[in-house]
Amino acid sequence: MTQGSLVPAESPGLSPGPISGPQPANLGDILERVLDKGIVIAGDIRVNLLDIELLTIKLRLVIASLDTASQVGINWWQADPWLSAEAANGSNSRELEEENRQLRSRVKALEARSRDGG
């Protein structure tokens, strides 16, 4: 019989290298797994399952910040990774073109003003 503590050491794993050795799990890692995954069976507190569904949605808002997703232009885990990513790249270039256009006209305006002033 094994006599060890029930609480394991951090990430036993395989000899961690200096670069990519396993990191300790953060709270988000644990929550997204124990709330969203794992087998769901109907226990005797059934109403609780619905509560957890709602809770999971709330936590999604905490864990998966929409800001983060739109900031980096990604939604590709939701559908076809490759196609969605292409779409995201496309919209990035359009955004960039528009930004460039605005900057160019701003530069022109500033040049004109500096000529007038000087």
Binding site: G38, N92, S114
Partner: protein, 267 residues
């Protein structure tokens, strides 16, 4: 047996040759985990009180992030300990029965499902891989200035500023695009070492404890015999992709690969 007015918290299901727990380490609510065996399966359970884990209390407590965090960590710690001794099918948090009989009944009714899930996770573990976009060390500050000086006919300080700013924006978008491309490559290459894989949405920077945006949050089910190759591939990818910072977590109990309607596993 659950105490009067208490509940039986179910952590997970393992084979019936699972070694019993010998010590009194804390589980959820501080009660040491114990086992219930039926239908050739072992349920890992713990006794919890009605005051904290009853229907009304649970509804209240689940809204309390500190309580939830503590409970989730306790649930996870027990499953992690079991996973070190053999395959385990994790239950979702807060799977509660009014008595041992309810657990026994579930083991019997769902025996085939549990066995199927156990064989799926047997000699396999889950690994978590995240990629963060790396902010380059002020890429446009210096070079952007030089470019602006060479390029434009404009020499005013305003124009120089705007051109420098434009170069910065271009650089940051390039970095973003490179980070996404790297994330896709990393995901695909690691999939080659895994039995199965899942995406999670990226985590908020606060929760992840990182300043830079997360561009990949994936879980892989990896056979134990290939875990060495998998971690070696991680190291290799880390060295090759400078636009992303990669982190590895695990081995995890196979949480992400046993849920219903989510690939193979029980209904």
């Amino acid at each position: 047996m659950a105490a009067e007015g208490g509940w039986v918290w179910m952590y997970g299901v393992a084979d019936d040759d699972l070694e019993t727990f010998a010590d009194g380490a804390a589980g959820v609510g501080g009660a040491p985990p114990r086992t219930i065996t039926a239908a050739g399966l072992t349920a890992i359970v713990g006794d919890v009180g009605d005051r904290e884990y009853g229907e009304a209390a649970l509804r209240r407590n689940l809204e309390d992030l500190d309580w939830l965090a503590q409970t989730a960590r306790a649930h996870h710690a027990v499953l992690e300990a079991v996973a070190e001794r053999g395959p385990v099918v994790p239950m979702r948090l807060a799977t509660l029965f009014s008595s041992d009989a309810g657990v026994t009944g579930t083991l019997q009714e769902r025996a085939d499902d549990f066995r199927e899930a156990l064989s799926l996770v047997s000699a396999r573990n889950e690994w978590g891989v995240k990629a963060y976009a790396v902010k380059p060390a002020d890429p446009a500050g210096e070079s952007g200035h030089e470019v602006a000086g060479r390029e434009g006919p404009a020499t005013g300080p305003g124009a120089a500023y705007l051109q420098r700013r434009r170069a910065q924006l271009t650089a940051s978008k390039d970095v973003r695009r490179e980070a996404l491309a790297s994330a896709r490559t990393v995901y695909a290459e690691l999939s080659g070492f895994a039995v199965s894989s899942r995406f999670y949405p990226p985590q908020a920077p606060d929760l992840a404890g990182q300043q830079t945006p997360m561009v990949l949050n994936a879980a892989y089910l990896v056979a134990d015999e290939r875990a060495g190759e998998f971690t070696a591939a991680m190291a290799d990818l880390t060295a090759r992709h400078r636009f992303v910072q990669l982190t590895l977590t695990g081995p995890w109990p196979a949480y992400s690969f046993v849920s219903e309607g989510d690939g193979p596993g029980p209904r």
